[in-house]
Symmetry: C2
Subunit: 132 residues, 2 copies
Amino acid sequence: MIQINERSMTPIYEQIINQVKELIVKGGLREGDKIPSVRELSGMLLINPNTVAKSYQELERQGVIATARGKGAFVCKPAASPGMERERGEQLREEMKRLIIEARHLGMTKAGFKTWVTDEVERNWGEQDADG
Amino acid sequence: MIQINERSMTPIYEQIINQVKELIVKGGLREGDKIPSVRELSGMLLINPNTVAKSYQELERQGVIATARGKGAFVCKPAASPGMERERGEQLREEMKRLIIEARHLGMTKAGFKTWVTDEVERNWGEQDADG
DNA sequence: TGTGTGTACTATACCGAATGATACAGTATT
DNA sequence: AATACTGTATCATTCGGTATAGTACACACA
């Protein structure tokens, strides 16, 4: 379900965040589904509970999951606050800009880049939405 | 020319790397151009020379610039080694995957994402290339 | 012989990531 | 009431990367 790469440059708590989001997007987790408890997941991944807790707190801050003492953590319906969307939208622009510059330095052409992006979208977007 | 954001989460030496690459892509720096010396740039940015040196070493490792003792650092002609291209290509795929998943969680539609990417490409790609 | 260049090395300070352990607070079940 | 589960909070500690500081070396050029 969730796998951790010890040698990755991205910290463990971010790997958890990213993989939970990926599972949701790709249909492995649906709205209302219960995700493993802090202690469960820390036991499965052989990492510290505090690290998992940090991931869940950030996921809740982003409106991806909802947590409740004694009950557990559950997948939310997508409902990001406007402020949060602006914040993460700006970050997304910066990352895309960096990615484009990197692609140029790898020798990609503009047309090649566009088709490459299209391929990656088809591979990672998950289920179709209204205008898919 | 190059500006450092002290409060940014990205380390200074990476900011330098990214901005040098951006300058090259956007035409501010061309093949053969001399870039500021380690001590010059560290003086301009009010940072430690070792930090600039680290940036230049990574830029040289990636084949973006060439350095020579006593002469300085100069912009290279793009000639990345095949191994380097594979390494960075894989990294690019991972980043794009993460970016796509993030876009979904921000409520973008597939079509909306594609047009957004197109806009960013037009804004950041720089001069036209063969099939632009 | 100078001056400017990249490079190398050591030492230090700071911060985030991750661990370990303990305790607290709310929920559900028995 | 008791118990077991949940998320949360706090403290201490270790570890690695970032950045600074200072010094020294090797090469190029005038």
